[in-house]
Symmetry: C2
Subunit: 359 residues, 2 copies
């Protein structure tokens, strides 16, 4: 097994070659690490800046063996890493962080909600079903409207649909592919918030200030951080973060999406066991950003500070919005972060801009 703290010059493995892997690789380089990215695509955002790229699927044994030869510590940018791949890497003597527990919880929306409620991190009411009849029965018990989602996979609003009437539940189940589903009561929230938190190998935790998030068509559009919140909300978010991190014996950065309810409570919407889009503001708002923080945690380094030195409005650049780069580059308070993606398909995350505001 690797020795911690991992010394500079070591190679950090990253499963996934997208923008999160890219920004992790850039942060790792700043701290003197080499990086090895495993990714299906030979020309990926992360591969462009990594020391090594291994081209292959996350479940390709030869690719995983090649990664294990380069890196004794592996992390990921994407929670749908197959459990078998983690076991395979571990069998090869590799430390994978965040660990298998976090992945298994994050990959199944039912396991996730059960874990959260058991940990004292409240969520909306929910039920689950494996059949159209089961879905209909659950909907009859819960009442409508409700949100039906596949238990596994799905992101950015994919793999989910609203059920307006109880009678529509069976049809929604079939429309989602007849796969196991979760049924969620609607959240009467006033705002969507998120908290980016981290836990080191020594069990220490660090929590960034809350971000206020705005979605469009299920995709994050805009985050404002630090969000203006009542003190008890900030306190509650820290409490939830601590419970989730401890409960998963977590190592790394986690993104926790929250609903701020009309009655002043915070509910957890979902958790992402990785760096998170709503934490990109930390790149220009904090001295140690979420990417360096994640590398520090995974490498067994002490966590860095999380206090902000600026207020940031983070805007995702989706599809051809990235063509605004020249205009944005001319704004003195806009910091551009572009991902090196060639094909600006509609809705694709091509980059983001952090707009600096005074604290």
């Amino acid at each position: 097994m690797p020795q911690f703290p991992l010394p500079p010059g070591s190679t950090l493995g990253i499963l996934g070659g997208g923008q999160l892997g890219r920004m992790l690789a850039l942060a790792a380089a700043r701290l003197g690490f080499e990086t090895a990215v495993l990714e299906r695509d030979a020309d990926s955002p992360a591969g462009q800046v990594a020391t090594h790229t291994i081209v292959g699927g996350y479940d390709d044994p030869a690719a995983l063996e090649a990664l294990a030869r380069l890196a004794r510590v592996v992390t990921y940018e994407f929670e749908n890493v197959p459990a078998a791949s983690v076991l395979k890497l571990q069998a090869l003597g590799v430390d994978v962080a965040p660990g298998a527990e976090a992945l298994s919880v994050a990959q199944d929306r039912v396991a996730e909600k059960q874990f959260l409620n058991a940990s004292g991190a409240p969520t909306v009411a929910f039920a689950f079903a494996d059949s159209a009849a089961g879905a209909a029965a659950a909907a009859a018990t819960m009442g409508a409207p409700l949100l039906m989602k596949t238990r596994r996979e799905g992101y950015d609003g994919k793999g989910q649909r609203w059920v307006e009437h109880v009678a529509d539940a069976a049809g929604a189940f079939e429309a989602l592919g007849g796969r196991p589903v979760i049924l969620e009561a609607p959240a009467d929230f006033v705002r969507e918030l998120s908290v980016i938190a981290a836990r080191g190998r020594d069990g220490a935790t660090a929590v960034y200030p809350l971000a206020e998030n705005h979605h469009e068509h299920g995709i994050l559009r805009r985050s404002l951080a630090p969000a203006l919140v009542m003190p008890h909300i900030a306190f509650e978010a820290e409490k939830i973060s601590a419970r989730v991190l401890q409960g998963l014996n977590y190592v790394g950065v986690i993104g926790i999406e929250l609903f701020e309810m009309r009655d002043g409570r915070l509910l957890v919407n979902e958790i992402a066991p990785r760096v998170h889009n709503s934490g990109h503001w930390t790149q220009d708002g904090c001295s140690v950003d979420q990417f360096e923080q994640h590398v520090r945690a995974v490498a067994g380094w002490p966590l860095g500070p999380t206090q902000p030195h600026a207020r940031i409005e983070m805007l995702n650049l989706l599809g051809d919005e990235v063509d605004q780069w020249a205009k944005l580059a001319a704004e003195p308070d806009s910091r551009l972060h572009l991902y090196g993606k060639r094909d600006a398909k509609p809705g694709r995350k091509m980059g983001h801009v952090n707009k600096l505001r005074a604290l």
Copy 2:
């Protein structure tokens, strides 16, 4: 010729694979550029993070042709790029920035001082000589002590020696290899300062606050920035920057080393037509650091802001000082920047740490 502003996704060429090239490549990646590094060593600090590495000498025609095929715009981390290499790249349709004028001035200490004085940027008194007899005659005219340096090459205190007595001048000339030399009057300075400035392709300029520098054995040890200075000193530094940048029709970031004299004047010690060690503080003290600023200038983007949001004490980590990484990583206000160099030879720049202080 390339079109400016250079769009994201373009490849920026970098001559030199050291830490300056590395930090330029990281900044370029953040803005969505690919990078191609030309460097003799296959495993170099910049090569570890660049999209492409071309292994070869700066004067290797095949290597320069390979670079020109990848990159329409090329910059460098090192001022001793052969003039013939720049001409070769230009003949291949490549734009090289900063340009040949800046390089020719920076490569010859006599041409440099003549340019500076002609531009209204004062220096110490100097003379030059091509022979031992000439050196003796010049020393007799100037008086001793004086500092003798080779006209070309030499950095970090190499290629220079103090002449304590006029009678030692001929011997010093021979000791420096019998090459053409410059003789410089000693500067009665109270402090060594430096200014990092930039000029865009549109002629706009941007100047960072002054840094106060401390050298040991000719190597930069420590910079403190923004330096506490009298207002007229800051004004004078900006005036000198503007004159130098205009005079060289410069594109990119330049480092200008200054002597703050006992009588309140500023003299220019030397100029470096590239990002500069004494500007590393901007990585954690400013929203746009010198590396992004250089990429912006060279790519024909608008320059970014230069105001600081923190005061920084930058310490170089020389040789085995880099072994302190674990202790430094645990300091909340220390930001580590490590270069990925394997061999911690004594005096070798292995990394630096930016210690944050309140403004």
